[in-house]
């Protein structure tokens, strides 16, 4: 299978600080790829490069084998790359379907050529379909304002927002950082289900246990480089932590 995204020799500096020092990584559809690393390892920079927040200094990004340049969040969305942020992702005062469709509302003409209005029903139906699809059943009403929701439910909405538009790549940036145990469960399950639907899920986290049970592959970053890549089934948290801290790609645990 060909990778959906390939990044090759990607470098990004902020002044004198080299945040990414030549990163190579391939992403495939249908898998959860976790990126772990200590603070300042460059994982946030890496995903911001993919989601269009930063532009790269050197290297190349290939989507379906074609080199592309991602200059803005809009570009990223056009390439089917959606990002679920850990915070500040939703407007509290809008209802669920308004949030899901924010910035991409469905409209209908009521006076042809003259007057377009929101198609609330279409948006609600689509939102409901996506929530059902993701088996998010804890959100039965789409007209409640988002600030009435719990943290896990909010993350669900944020995820729904990203999958509603045929995203192929979904970046989840520490999606469980602010969540309790059951709500974390919900988000982890969602990540798995998205990959089963054929999405490429990029999952950033600090929490080794979550990463090991959710991801298919795990990339370990240290000082702006990928120092190791493991299949989740063939590693454990000791090895990951060792790589995160030492930056050595320890071959095995003999």
């Amino acid at each position: 299978m060909n990778p959906v995204i390939e990044i090759k020799g990607v470098k990004k500096s902020f002044g004198a600080v080299a945040a990414l020092k030549g990163v190579d990584l391939d992403f495939y559809c249908g898998e959860v790829l976790a990126i772990v690393g200590d603070n300042g390892a460059g994982k946030s920079t890496l995903i911001k490069v993919l989601s269009g927040v930063y532009t790269i200094d050197e290297g190349s990004i290939l989507i379906d084998g074609h080199p592309v340049s991602i200059k803005s969040p809009k570009d990223a969305k056009r390439f089917g790359i959606e990002t679920v942020y850990q915070d500040l992702a939703l407007c509290d005062n809008l209802d669920i379907s308004s949030n899901v469709f924010l910035g991409r509302e469905i409209t209908k003409m009521i006076i042809p050529g003259l007057l377009k209005v929101f198609d609330h029903n279409a948006m609600r139906e689509r939102t409901r379909a996506v929530l059902n699809d993701l088996r998010i059943s804890s959100l039965e009403t789409l007209t409640s304002q988002v600030h009435h929701l719990s943290g896990g439910q909010r993350q669900s909405v944020a995820v729904a927002k990203s999958v509603c538009f045929d995203a192929r790549v979904i970046i989840m940036d520490e999606p469980t950082a602010a969540l309790g145990v059951t709500q974390t469960r919900l988000v982890l399950d969602l990540a798995r289900r998205l990959s089963e639907r054929g999405c490429c899920v990029i999952y950033i986290s600090h929490i080794m246990r979550d990463v090991l049970e959710t991801a298919d592959r795990i990339a370990v970053m240290k000082s702006g480089q990928v120092v190791g890549l493991r299949k989740a089934a063939e590693t454990d948290s000791d090895e990951l932590v060792f790589m995160m801290i030492s930056g050595e790609n320890r071959k095995s645990r003999q």
Binding site: D92, N93, G103
Partner: protein, 340 residues
């Protein structure tokens, strides 16, 4: 019946919480209207002759200009901004219209377009400065308050302008089927504005920006461009208000607008909007303006001096905001309960 709130609460049977949420939601929705009815009821008890159709028409007439301004102001406030310049910008719009219609003997129709264009222009400048300089709207529009006042006085040399054509009186003083024209204008504007607030990107994104500017930006909304549009919308209503007021006083007065901005803001707040942004609506803004007009009118009927009236309005404003704060605290508490 399985209500919306019940389903959200989920597995726990929390009937009391649900009940409380519901009553607070109702209060949230109808609070301002209840306040208006309480004021009218109070006035009727104090003065049995208060509640007549003609008195209600007078209240509506007196509220019309402030309500029009409040409709523009509420969109700005929903988006998390504020516009302190609506009052003096209204004077400026009036003066530019007067210069064209009276001094240059231009046509009334074009004069009215000039009034609206002046308001929109002031709004565009406000919006552009707020969006692109990144300074607080309070400061920008406070500056604009002075600029518009100065321009209005300079252009008119400080004098009122008289001599609008006769037919102009109709807008402020005429009636359609027994209803004063300013109330009809307010009704039409309110319908159009409600539509804009609910069904168009301008309205939706104003709520979005007020509810979470960063989230709006990340959703790909061109936040700056919409801020400019929001202030311009407010400016358009300033223009319409200036036409109605000018017709009511049958002149263009360069100093009449000052103070209206505070009334508009007070009306918006009494109408349930939050100065933190994200909350408010057209009907609330109108109800707020009506409440203030009803209080003023009632106190007039009871021969309370304008000095005391100011105090009463001030007290009502503080009570309204306090009730709103109670509501927010209560709702936050209930949200925490249900989030468990």
């Amino acid at each position: 019946m399985k209500s919306k709130v019940d389903t959200l609460v989920g597995e726990k049977p929390v009937a009391t919480v649900t009940y409380q949420v519901r009553s607070w939601r109702l209060f949230n929705r109808f609070g301002p209207a209840i306040m208006l009815m309480a004021v009218v009821a109070g006035m009727s008890i104090a003065h049995p002759d208060f509640l007549t159709i003609s008195n209600l028409m007078t209240i509506g007439l007196q509220a019309a200009v402030r309500a029009l301004l409040a409709i523009g102001e509420v969109l700005v406030i929903i988006s998390g901004g504020i516009d302190l310049s609506v009052g003096t910008a209204m004077s400026l719009s009036m003066v530019t219209m007067g210069l064209y219609v009276i001094n240059s003997h231009g046509s009334l129709e074009i004069g009215m377009l000039i009034a609206i264009a002046t308001g929109v222009l002031v709004g565009l400048v406000n919006g552009t400065l707020v969006a692109f300089l990144g300074l607080p709207p309070f400061i920008i529009t406070l500056g604009m308050l002075g600029i518009a006042q100065g321009l209005a006085l300079t252009l008119s040399s400080g004098f009122s302008m008289y001599g609008f054509p006769k037919e102009f009186d109709f807008l402020g003083g005429g009636q359609i089927f027994g209803i004063p024209v300013p109330i009809v204008i307010l009704g039409v504007v309110a319908l159009v504005a409600s539509f804009i607030f609910r069904e168009t990107r301008l309205g939706r994104y104003a709520y979005a920006i007020g509810g979470g500017e960063e989230a709006a930006r990340r959703a790909g909304i061109p936040v700056r461009r919409f801020k400019v549009a929001i202030y311009a919308f407010c400016g358009g209503l300033v223009g319409i208000s200036s036409i109605v007021l000018s017709s009511r006083i049958n002149s263009a007065h360069p100093g009449i607008g000052i103070g209206y901005e505070l009334d508009a803001i007070a009306a918006v707040v009494i109408g349930g909007a939050s100065l933190m942004g994200g909350r408010g609506n057209v009907s609330g803004a109108i109800i707020g303006a009506l409440t203030m007009a009803a209080i003023r009118f009632g106190l007039n009927v009871m021969a309370v001096t304008p000095f005391i009236q100011q105090i009463v309005i001030g007290v009502i404003l503080i009570i309204a905001v306090y009730l709103d704060r109670l509501r927010i605290l209560q709702e936050a508490k209930l949200d925490r309960l249900r989030a468990r």
